[in-house]
Subunit: 558 residues, 2 copies
């Protein structure tokens, strides 16, 4: 790192680092607003950013603001990377062996479907801050509603059960069971702690005065309300049979409890009219900040070669200058498998190359479907946003958190979003077979209403991210507890000469735009010396499965 | 009921009634869309609707569509009744003894605060249908977020605890306790049911493999994430002390579990830019439907006298014709205490007068506050909508579900919304004292951030609905199990001659706009013979407390 200020190589235990973090050792600092990059460190330096995804664009924007000469080189014909909002005519490309698919998104003008990220947690402060700074209007993304549905292959009598029944009958059953155990075991009088716990259980599970669960209106009403009802009004729905509930093993067969996890708790947001509005806003901001006449973002320019020099880096891309373009720094958000597979890397250290070659991305698929009738918002279904979970390989169905009660009745659904083996299998299927599979899964959740007339097969789209050129997966697939992964992660947090890896792939939030922005902060901090370039120890890589799909729960030990 | 078709007096056990309900006896029918009123029954009949709230306006709209000659007589200078959205310059009036307060709402132009209804459940199909029919755009009302806060007078060490900690530490603690009890009592091997329940508890409460609760990231992270974190990443927040949790008795000291109830489950909605847009849309629709040149809604016209005639009714109001105005029918949505207190009723049957005089409305207050800085959306607080609950007399604080990240930083908060004794006490206070009390309660939830600069006292508003002329309360205060209430409720579901009582006050959803619209359906059904005018038996009045505030839970029996 010839060209960097001395502070950049400060070890984490130096005074500078301590002052920076306020702690004696390396330590996470609460986010207090965009930090950007110090102009003194980058003004008039040349920086090539590889990849125009959220990470690359954010880095370029900050660098341009600080006076760097910065250009973004993007392989695809559009910016955004995985932040891809499909609209009428969008092209979905996948590579299958020697064949490259090209499908046009057939949904109507004015509709959209987020094929990549689709939601922003309220604690992803960097994304929210950039949305504010760049005037990206947000609306609430609804993660879970009481009217959403659940399908499992075993257990329940009906094809689906409604979220509110599963949620509240489970609560009621657990509360009753614990209360009975406390009461049965307690010598009268109950001690104060057990007494208080019993009272809490009444409220928690909606138990009656005898601590019995007899069903709850939290699980819905048995029948519709009337002005004049000779029954107890309102009467709770009869509780689900507890043996069936347990037999379904819904908590491990589906992602039913994912909305409880920190990353998906309310409030969540989505940009109005599609996630790509963040990308568009970043592109606009970059164009407004760049030197007039310069072209700060080059599209259709796959990088072919990166050469580390004594004093910087030289980058070659298709359509670029024959001799490549030199720069003081290169920040690469190219997905590591793509970097490893398609880019000639010259002058890199062997340990760094080993790390680049090591990282694999996780398979993941989405299916999107245009509906011509918002049947899920009908009197019968009453679903406004949220997710239905299923044991079927589609894993989940998302309902739109926008255009509620839209006049023409149209809307878009995420008809599948799956991972691991389900995604690998779907990725091998033809476009048509994927859409048919998605229909099969959705119909278990919506028997009778998910008709071909309501959701025409011909208006479906699909994407297998691990098949998409220049992406090759949904996110870096780090495995917690894997020592090799941990060591490779550590290496990639450091630059090799003037070359830095960027993006959610080297962040504690893989698969999240916030991770990409955290990485920008980290790498720009390395450029201006506020973050260390030497990382002595990483104890743990991100728990990618939990961070992208929620915790998985199987049987415990005893 | 001289003027009504024979079918109207059919007993509920006649064939007509059976055909109507599809059942052998009185029975609630699922709502399948607006029913309106049959033109044959009301065309060219004259109908006077008393009160221009949501009930009165909806009735008038349907009657005009069906060809009736219909006019709405409203006491106040604005339509809407309790559906009152205060904006800059709105007048809040209260009657205190002989004095009438008049306060101008001081909040800035462009802001609003819903002083009456503020949210629409997804199962309130009538309200949602009218919003669609009348082009009222909706947005999500966020009832609960993981970042909301809780204050109790006992228990917790800090002034407040965050929702996600209370929610998930409670779940974890309950799950662990039950799992231990199952494991301790089970002779190995555990039977299948206990084994399955233990596994469910792991997922339900986020227990470790040994079914221990050691804190959960569902309750938040211990510290901020970093790219490069030497600790286990992310580390859960330390769990709340269980003794303190139980000592707080938060489940009965506050409305913390109200969002679990059916009426407040996601998805909820609010009209964009204020609840009064429903009223405005109804007024517009009435004006568009009425005979050109007619004035279908008379404001500033308090009704003074209603006289039942052999063949209809005659209504007098301030500023109306000297001899009163005759009509075939009179539908009165005047709050029953107002009708009883301020309107001379002539020719009514004694049992009906007894019923009118019997009904009391519940006290309820709201405080609204303009904030000049959306501090609750800051990095420190991260609150976007939802409600913080407190044991303080203000009961709750609502954060706006709109204008997130608004550029000028301004927003409006519901700084108090209380009931019963708290509302009675607040109603007796001066305007200034109410705002100071609200500030005191809010500061327990937001120590340090709810400053006078951020939330100036001078920009607050308050309303005690039980003090508002022509309203006298929030909703009819029916008491479940009270035989007298039940009998009076039954009487008021029936007409007295040509006079019908209308509104949420005589519905199974008091305090809800849906209740008002259900009542419209009922009364218009009586006019056209699709609903009975004789109600033989009512077993139960609406459980008003539960329906407006959520279930209350005290100690159980054992």
């Amino acid at each position: 790192m010839q060209s960097m200020p001395a502070a950049m190589t400060a070890s984490p235990t130096t005074g500078l680092y301590r002052a920076m973090t306020g702690m004696a050792g390396p330590h996470a600092v609460a986010y207090r607003g965009p930090v950007g990059v110090a102009a003194r460190a980058v003004r008039d330096r040349t920086v090539l950013v590889l990849g125009a995804g959220v990470g690359g664009l954010t880095a370029a924007y900050e660098l341009l603001k600080a006076g760097a000469a910065c250009r973004v080189i993007e392989a695809q014909e559009r910016p955004g990377g995985r932040s891809f909002t499909a609209r009428n005519g969008s092209i979905i490309r996948e590579r299958h062996g020697d064949v490259t698919w090209e499908h046009l998104c057939p949904i109507d003008e004015g509709l959209y479907i987020n094929l990549g990220p689709g939601r922003i947690p309220h604690h992803h402060r960097r994304v929210l801050d950039y949305c504010r700074e760049l005037d990206v209007p947000l609306e609430v993304y609804v993660m879970e509603t009481a009217a959403n549905r659940l399908h499992t292959d075993r257990g329940f009598e009906e094809s689906f059960v409604v979220n509110r029944r599963v949620t509240h009958d489970t609560r009621g059953y657990i509360a009753e069971r614990l209360a009975r155990s406390l009461l049965d075991n307690g010598l009268p009088p109950l001690d104060a702690e057990r007494r208080a716990l019993c009272d809490l259980l009444r409220a928690f599970g909606d138990l009656d005065e005898n601590y019995r669960y007899r069903g709850s209106t939290r699980a819905g009403y048995k029948g519709p309300l009337s002005i004049y009802d000779p029954w107890e009004d309102p009467e709770p729905a009869p509780p689900l049979d507890v043996d069936r509930l347990l037999a379904s093993r819904y908590w491990e067969a589906t992602h039913f409890y994912q909305p409880q996890e920190y990353l998906w708790q309310p409030t969540m947001f989505q940009p109005v009219d599609g996630m790509d509005h963040i990308v568009r806003a970043l592109v606009r901001a970059i164009e407004d900040t760049a030197v007039p006449g310069e072209q700060p973002i080059l599209l259709d320019s796959p990088v072919t070669r990166v050469e580390l020099l004594r004093d910087g880096v030289r980058v070659h891309w298709e359509g670029g200058p024959e001799e490549g373009e030199p720069a003081d720094y290169c920040l690469s958000s190219i997905p590591l498998p793509v970097l490893s597979e398609s880019v000639e890397l010259v002058g890199f250290s062997d340990p760094y190359l080993e790390a680049i070659d090591h990282v694999r991305f996780a398979p993941t698929c989405k299916v999107g479907s245009q509906a011509n009738r918002r049947f899920w918002e009908s009197n019968e279904e009453q679903i406004y946003g949220g997710i239905s979970y299923t044991e079927h390989p589609i894993t989940q169905v998302w309902y739109p958190s926008n255009d509620y009660q839209r006049e023409d009745g149209k809307g878009t659904l995420t008809g599948a979003y799956n991972y691991d083996d389900d995604a690998l299998a779907m990725g091998e299927m033809s476009w048509e077979d994927r859409l048919e599979l998605a229909r099969e899964g959705a119909r278990q959740l919506h028997p009778g209403s998910w008709t071909d007339a309501a959701v025409p097969l011909a208006l479906g789209v699909s994407i297998a991210w691990h098949k998409v050129p220049y992406q090759l997966g949904g996110w870096a697939d780090w495995a917690v507890g894997n020592a090799k992964d941990t060591e490779m992660y550590r290496r990639l947090l450091q630059p090799d000469g003037a070359f830095h890896v960027l993006g959610d792939q080297v962040s504690s939030l893989p698969g999240w735009q916030e991770g990409a922005m955290m990485s920008v902060e980290w790498v720009l901090g390395q450029l201006d010396g506020t973050q260390p370039t030497v990382v002595p120890q990483v104890v743990r890589v991100p728990d990618v499965k939990s961070l992208t799909q929620g915790r998985a729960f199987g049987p415990g030990r005893p």
